[in-house]
Subunit: 197 residues, 4 copies
């Protein structure tokens, strides 16, 4: 009679190095969802659980809770940068992509509020400032002479304002409010969609 391990005995699969990347992606995705549902202060354990991994894995990939938030934001910023770098890019189009991230990602909202003094986990703030700069750089490149938001500072201020407009409402409301906000600012915005979407 051969013996085979029962389900209870079988150790969780260790898929080797391949799994590492997969786990990291799952964690970032889970974090994005959890942040959307429970805010940036949500327990890390919930993120690990939703990602389907142990707590240890989270710590293997991210040294602390700030690193998790940064990873989520990093993704958003990178997409905006890619949109800005595209051959056919123009300001309206990039703002459309940016607006999409504002409406889809609760964590991204407030990114542009980088100098904030309180309430955010340490480390998030520091990195956020750098990310905010990257967004500013991406937009600045497409700012044409004579644009209503002539100064780069005005442009980022406007982004912060739109961000304020979508803070709070449920996801469904956000796009409507974002577009209304841009309209109040007299700025033309391209279709609200992810880069390449």
């Amino acid at each position: 009679m051969t013996q085979h391990p029962t389900a209870e005995e079988r150790r969780p699969a260790n898929d080797g190095p391949k799994a590492a990347a997969r786990n990291r992606a799952a964690l970032v995705a889970a974090a994005r969802e959890v942040y959307a549902e429970h805010g940036l202060d949500a327990p890390l354990s919930g993120i690990a659980r939703r990602a389907g991994v142990g707590q240890g894995v989270l710590y293997r990939h991210f040294p602390d809770r700030a690193a998790v938030a940064n990873a989520v934001l990093e993704e958003n910023v990178r997409e905006v940068e890619q949109a800005a770098a595209a051959a056919t890019a123009n300001l309206a189009g990039v703002l459309g992509v940016l607006t999409w991230h504002l409406t889809e990602s609760a964590a991204f909202i407030g990114l542009l509020h980088a100098d904030r003094t309180g309430g955010r986990p340490d480390g998030v703030h520091a990195h956020a400032s750098a990310l905010s700069d990257r967004v500013a750089r991406s937009l600045r490149g497409h700012l044409t002479d004579g644009h209503r938001l002539g100064a780069s500072d005005d442009l980022m201020l406007a982004v912060a304002m739109v961000s304020g407009a979508v803070t709070g409402p449920t996801r469904g409301e956000r796009e409507r409010r974002a577009l209304a906000a841009w309209r109040l600012l007299g700025v033309e915005v391209g279709p609200v969609r992810p880069f390449g979407g």
Copy 2:
């Protein structure tokens, strides 16, 4: 089993019932400061400490953490209402007072983001929605025909946008950014000052 204070020693002064009102005011003031420094999730113990009272006093005056936040917001809203009710009030003047509160009170920032779904302590949200309505009512009364923000909804959206503009920066920066934000919106705003100030 139950408690045994262990402290048969001295006991800090008990200023009697007279102190009640004073303590409540001290708590609200302390909360305002703590919120500004550490955000709405700051430990209640810190608020009590800064107010110079025991933890129990805080709970005597406010049943839960939402009640503390509500008390702080209530003060802000009341001032805006008073400004709106003044005989000589006009929209620009009321917005000036409103803007002052946005720049001075971190807790007030985001009040107009009432429908937010996550991350805020329960109960804050519910009351915030009502407070937001009171602000809307106060402003609406002074909205003149043909104003750039003709619809009341646009007006509150604009307030939320300015709120976004001042979220994050240190206090010194806020007034400058708030005024810049109103300028981008093409809205005239009176002097930024407290009601009666």
Copy 3:
């Protein structure tokens, strides 16, 4: 904001998952002792301390204080059921085992007082009622025709009465009083001993 362990120092041993079962058992045993010494309302922290584990471990194994008490009672009831299920079981023998548990386990005393309305932590009561039923079922099976406690209700009432007789006295006294109580009831009881003991 959140936690900062402050303790970059040493850290007690973590015996790994193997310890889980051991810890749970240690907690139940510790709870039994603590209940005996300080009653059902004793602080959970004391139970964790006596079990030699951190507070968190207690909460990992038992969601709330009711669950701890239930786990302790569960053990008592299971032993009675096993005694009743034994091939050679008869009423006197089962009552002997039951009596042993009454005299040894302060938490078990009062289990049969299930409908109590006040003073017990919520949840204990609910489960206690079910446990009481299991005891009743175990005894009923051995109730012979013409027994002095002919009705099953009378039998459980008698158990409650004996329980009352042993409530309070120190452990040494309990067995004596329990036997005296059964004698007053005119019921024959086998040797007072644990099942299999």
Copy 4:
């Protein structure tokens, strides 16, 4: 225009020494109710509130929580003593009065469990032992030769057993169970009623 204090300004009536006795009685009555509803560990503040007096008054009359419980028990015992001292008293009658107190007073239940080691506020236990002795003395005087519970110890054991029988059930159930318990013990009990009732 004469002035009269508004309701807000009027200080609570100070009815002088007369009120003292009234307050004490109100506190004991309130304690009895609160104990029945929430158990012996109920907050003292609730007792004061239900008595309609400030917390300070409670502490004026009773030095600590044990004193409150003792005062409640004292009343019960005194009634039993009075029943025992009555000219026409006999054992059945006194047991009827005793039983009434068992069924009516949650605090009285368990009094006869005097040697209990844990869970009760310190000081209750000590006094309870003395009270228990007074009950024993009251009953002993009416124990006739040849009674089923010939020894005084048996008599008090029986009382403890009946006490166990009524611990837990809702008030409505208690009298029924108490009578059933006495029946199982083969003891005749007079009408269950307060002394003089």
